[in-house]
């Protein structure tokens, strides 16, 4: 369309209205998630829609929009049909004909594609349990608009808050509003955003910088990715307001390279914003200049720490430095710098638009507003979830997440990635906010929420996270570099049956020291997963050490597979799948697993037909009865 610049709030409003009218020319809208769902063939579905709508001569009245994440990733590829609000999951190109015929022509839902809960089919998105309990505020536009199209974003009210802030508020008023709303950093530590901006505003100097931390490196977190991919303009708008508040004229978005779609969408969004004069010189004729540059991370988890991120921007090894001075005093090239997380910026336009009072009415005292969680792991409805602060884990895991698959039992939820902790079952009804989570030893973190069931070994989980922190440790300070390695060594020993009785105490002591003495957040929080699992699942550690047993059948050194001679019929199914030929036996005769050769992959367990169920696994010592049945080893 035209490259007409928008130079006042009035023009923005007019343009938004025009765009809304242009949208209404279509009587129906097919929204297809083209970010996460792309991996499961959403592109083919979109192509099929375009082709078949053109054949049916409906392409003038039905729009096909490629959107960001709609949320219910478990049923990818997901398609949403407006204005009927029908949500279809697992859509294949072959289903398109049916959707056009039933829904687009007649307005009826396609029964085979809708969600089914308790035997009832729920075609409308608001009826689905996954969405019913959610409150989509920050993610309001995500999955509803085309992220590659600024006109769509403006039609949905994007940049209104920026216009309001720039033209009718002073920077101090903006900071006060954000402080009053009690917005806390969504990146992990939960520091007050308004206060942080205030520090930077007050720092002397004319040259200030704003950085958007989009280096979402926590394993199990994908909220920021969804925001960047699905609604990049909201993040840019939040950055504009923040830059105005602190007095910066240059901003950076530091995105990790593992998110190519996010990099692409932000690049497009920035280009379009510049075309419309929403970035650049004299924005909205307010005299305020601001532009944003995208920097792509080079793959270092520690660069999520603010001082390390700044070092990385400056072209150095991404290592943190001691604070103070804080970045607000001396950051990027020694200039006052403010760093916030993607989700924090995405919250800002809401506060400016609707006011601090409205915003702080959502949530609890320990955290205002909503929080986006990336729900994954052993849960039915994996996906992106936005709930008010203070929601309980039970609501998130069971009401929204639909519970544990295959009738499993909830064991723990891992919150906050490698810096967080494991929250056990007894806290399922605890309202989650910054303070309450901290009290039980975890942290809110960036919002990764991994559900674990009985088949997860907590020692192994702790070891996994520690391994992550250890390999991502930049090596600058000794407690983190040496301490995590030492802790990992102990955990390795525990998992491999080599631990001594005193090792748990040593582990605890080390964890305490590493947490207290490390330089940056990575080292300070690295022991958290170990500490929380030790606190809530100490019995599992003791089982590993004393009884040489892994209750969840995960630690392979303690695991052994056996064939029950009374049940084995000699069908040979197990021997065929064994990758190392450890199973021997003649046809129709009892088979035997050679424990010396067995690599404990578990293939035989899966291959044994359920009607025989002759293969069984044991962790630790066999019972006396089982030992008797076990054939004598040839060696």
């Amino acid at each position: 369309m035209s490259s007409k610049k928008i130079s006042s709030p009035k023009e923005l409003k007019k343009f938004a209205q025009q765009m809304q009218e242009a949208r209404q020319e279509y009587r129906c809208c097919v929204l297809i998630c083209m970010t996460g769902c792309r991996a499961l063939g959403a592109a083919n579905v979109a192509a099929a829609f375009r082709e078949k709508l053109a054949v049916a001569k409906l392409d003038k009245e039905v729009a096909v929009v490629e959107t960001g994440c709609i949320g219910l990733c478990a049923r990818a590829p997901v398609v949403l049909i407006e204005p009927y609000e029908y949500l279809y999951g697992g859509v294949k190109p072959d289903d398109v004909d049916k959707i056009i015929e039933t829904t687009i022509r007649n307005g009826e839902p396609v029964e085979s594609l809708v969600s089914i809960e308790d035997g009832k089919s729920l075609p409308k998105i608001d009826e689905v349990g996954f969405y019913k309990e959610q409150r989509k505020v920050v993610l309001g536009n995500c999955g509803r608009i085309d992220p590659k199209n600024i006109e769509d974003a403006i039609a949905c009210g994007c940049y209104e808050a920026a216009a309001k802030a720039l033209c009718s508020m002073t920077p101090e008023e903006v900071i006060e509003e954000v402080t009053k709303a009690d917005l806390r950093g969504r990146g992990g530590a939960g520091f007050s955003t308004g206060v942080k901006w205030g520090f930077c505003r007050k720092s002397p100097g004319n040259e200030k910088y704003l950085i958007c931390n989009a280096d979402e490196g926590d394993p199990g977190a994908f909220m920021d990715r969804a925001l960047k991919e699905g609604d990049p303009h909201r993040v840019i708008e939040g950055m504009m307001i923040a830059a105005y508040a602190i007095g910066a004229s240059k901003g950076f978005v530091y995105v990790r390279a593992e998110y190519p779609i996010a990099v692409e969408h932000i690049g497009i969004a920035l280009y379009q914003a510049r075309q419309y004069g929403l970035l650049g010189k004299n924005i909205f004729s307010s005299g305020f200049d601001f532009d944003i540059e995208v920097r792509i991370g080079a793959g270092a988890f520690v660069c999520g720490e603010e001082t390390a991120l700044i070092a990385s921007l400056e072209g150095k090894r991404g290592m943190p430095r001691p604070r103070p001075p804080f970045p607000a005093q001396s950051g990027y090239h020694g200039k006052p710098t403010n760093i916030n997380n993607v989700e924090t910026f995405a919250n800002v336009p809401l506060i400016i638009n609707k006011g601090a009072k409205w915003y702080s009415s959502i949530g609890t005292k320990g955290g205002r507003g909503t929080k986006i969680f990336a729900l994954a792991g052993k849960v039915n409805n994996t996906g992106l979830v936005e709930v008010p602060m203070g929601s309980t884990l039970r609501q998130i895991v069971f009401d929204i997440g639909g519970g544990i698959p295959e009738g499993g039992k909830f064991k723990a939820a891992q919150m906050g990635g490698p810096s967080g902790g494991c929250v056990p079952e007894q806290f399922l009804d605890l309202g989650i906010d910054y303070d309450s989570v901290k009290d039980i030893g975890a942290i809110m973190g960036s919002g990764g929420l991994i559900v674990m069931d009985e088949s997860t070994c907590m020692v192994d989980v702790a070891r996994y996270f520690l391994q992550f922190c250890q390999s991502e440790s930049c090596g600058k300070c000794t407690p983190c570099r040496v301490g995590t390695k030492d802790m990992l060594h102990i955990l390795d020993n525990i998992c491999e049956c080599k631990a001594a009785a005193d090792d748990l105490n040593r582990l605890e002591r080390l964890a305490d020291h590493v947490g207290k003495a490390s330089l940056c957040g990575l080292g300070q929080t690295a022991p958290n997963p170990v500490m929380t699992t030790l606190q809530y699942f100490r019995n599992e550690y003791e089982d590993h050490i004393e009884r040489k047993q892994c209750p969840a059948f995960v630690c392979t050194t303690m695991l052994s597979f056996h064939i029950d001679p009374e049940r084995c019929t000699g069908c040979g199914a197990c021997a065929r799948v064994c990758p190392v030929e450890a199973i021997s036996g003649e046809k129709k005769k009892t088979h035997v697993i050679d424990q010396g050769i067995c690599i404990r992959c578990g293939a035989c367990l899966g291959a044994c037909p359920p009607r025989f169920a002759a293969v069984y696994r044991r962790s630790g010592e066999l019972t006396r009865y089982e030992k008797q049945k076990e054939p004598k080893s040839k060696n």
Partner: protein, 215 residues
Amino acid sequence: MHFPFGDGTKHVIIRKKPNILEKLLQIIAGEPIGEYNPSISKQYMLSGELCYRRQNMQSNKEVFLDKTTALKICESMGRITSDSLIPILQQIQDAYGYLPAEILSEVSKHTGLNANQMYGVATFYEQFHLEPRGRHTIKCCRGTACHVRGGREIISALERELEVEEGQTTEDMRFTFETVACLGTCFLAPVIMINNDYYGNVKPGKIKSILDRYE
């Protein structure tokens, strides 16, 4: 490329004179690295441009490294500051597939960026590689969700299938296999990513058929 610092074996002070640095690099790059030995021979003229030649031990063919691409990248950056270092390295890696020592020393000469710092940065970040890479890169996620859903079995199945370990390249230069902390697509767990294609809900039995799609 083995620079004389970092691994603690040698300590050589590099002065700013570029010819000394280049010489050093040549000597150092001649050292055996793992199983193959990339040796730099003399400078060659190829299509009127100065090129470096090095032996590719896997295929035993000579590979010509054309420095013009690298110089073009540097020029496209505009004014070079320390900030430009990571973007330059990223683009060079995109163009060459890895960071060849000879090209880096050319870039250092051309831009005035410190080769020492360049090596420091290249070895710090996981994304940068100083050795040639396979035609396809397999990234196997070892994120939490994948781990819980059996990602470890996928890793060992891939290692068995490719007959290499994590971080290595197959002998025929077809695949480089690495693991990453998290691909951010946990709802597809366990996930592997080959080049830019995601494969979700992967089972060990499916791996061979997935790999067969890549030549």
